[in-house]
């Protein structure tokens, strides 16, 4: 029986190296295209803190935090630094910032107790909330979780926001 000599795309014509190069180039092009078209693309450069940060408290996602908020079991703590005169935050949230931690905590002395369940949140970066959670743990607070994704995730999950003006209880 005569052996077929047809050259097809299946590897009988090109060398494996050339075919592998074609596949790699096609993959790179498809990856670039899908990256652009994805609704939630990863940033081009990975942020080491996202991967290496040893969090001081467990994370909760926004729907879970929303459930805490609706049942009223948890106190929400905004850890974002003071920025614009007008800002949006979670209604009822209190403020504890890294650069004024002791003063902020002192102001909440009669309001926030070590047995209270707390949700700390920031702008999505976990460094600030984790820092505050760690310092609160040092002061005896034990039931602390960090809102993953921060205020944006809260808002995306349908969480209520209120506009506050600096000075309205923002320590």
């Amino acid at each position: 029986m005569a052996r077929r000599t047809t050259k097809s795309s299946g590897g009988r014509g090109r060398s494996p190296l050339a075919e592998a190069a074609w596949l790699t180039v096609a993959s790179i092009v498809l990856t670039a295209g899908s990256w652009v078209l994805r609704p939630d693309p990863l940033p081009l450069r990975a942020e080491p803190a996202v991967y290496r940060l040893e969090l001081a408290a467990p994370l909760v996602d926004a729907p879970t935090a929303l459930a805490f908020y609706e049942t009223g079991t948890h106190l929400f703590i905004d850890t974002r630094p003071v920025g614009d005169p007008e800002f949006r935050t979670i209604p009822g949230a209190v403020f504890i910032r890294q650069d004024s931690f002791d003063d902020d905590l002192f102001e909440l002395f009669d309001f926030m107790f070590p047995e209270d369940p707390l949700v700390v949140f920031g702008d999505g970066n976990l460094t600030g909330p984790s820092n505050i959670a760690g310092r609160l743990k040092d002061r005896g607070y034990r039931d602390i979780v960090i809102l993953q994704g921060g205020l944006d995730a809260w808002s995306d999950a349908g969480g209520e926001l209120t506009t506050r003006t600096r000075g309205e209880g923002d320590s």
Partner: protein, 144 residues
């Protein structure tokens, strides 16, 4: 022999296609799974988390359909070799991590069984790579 090659093609191709699905859907957790190995520098982490599943999918399709078959087998063999090195390195460093092979949320922990599985996968890559006659191909079917 060509049927053995075909079986190897379908097995390896099917495995890589299946492995790519969850990674394509969840590049963030997959990037975290890659980072657990502590081998990839951060500037390459996200590009790799996006590129690897696409490469696995294309290569798997190439093997199953017989399109660019030997090139797909070459990439499959090289990738499997990289996986073997990564797993062996994680084992040597005592890392207790998930392999990130098929599922990005948890999944199989790295261990000797995983190393053995990848060695078998590497052996399965060889017939489609080394044999020129690798069984039915898409181009053949289209000609009929």
């Amino acid at each position: 022999m060509r049927w053995i090659v075909l079986l190897c093609r379908l097995a390896v191709g099917g495995i890589f296609i299946y492995a790519s699905l969850d990674k394509l859907a969840h590049p963030g957790p997959f990037a975290a799974a890659i980072d657990n190995y502590r081998m990839v520098p951060y500037p390459l982490l996200h590009p790799m988390a996006h590129l690897l599943p696409v490469l696995e999918m294309l290569m798997g399709l190439g093997l199953v359909l017989g399109v660019l078959r030997r090139g797909a087998a070459l990439i499959a063999a090289l990738l499997t070799l990289v996986f073997i090195v990564a797993i062996a390195s994680a084992l040597a460093r005592g890392l207790d991590i998930s392999c990130g092979c098929f599922h990005t949320d948890g999944g199989h922990g790295v261990g000797l069984d995983l190393l053995f599985r990848d060695v078998v996968l590497l052996l399965l890559c060889l017939p489609p790579l080394l044999k020129r006659d690798g069984g039915p191909e898409l181009a053949d079917l289209l000609k009929k």
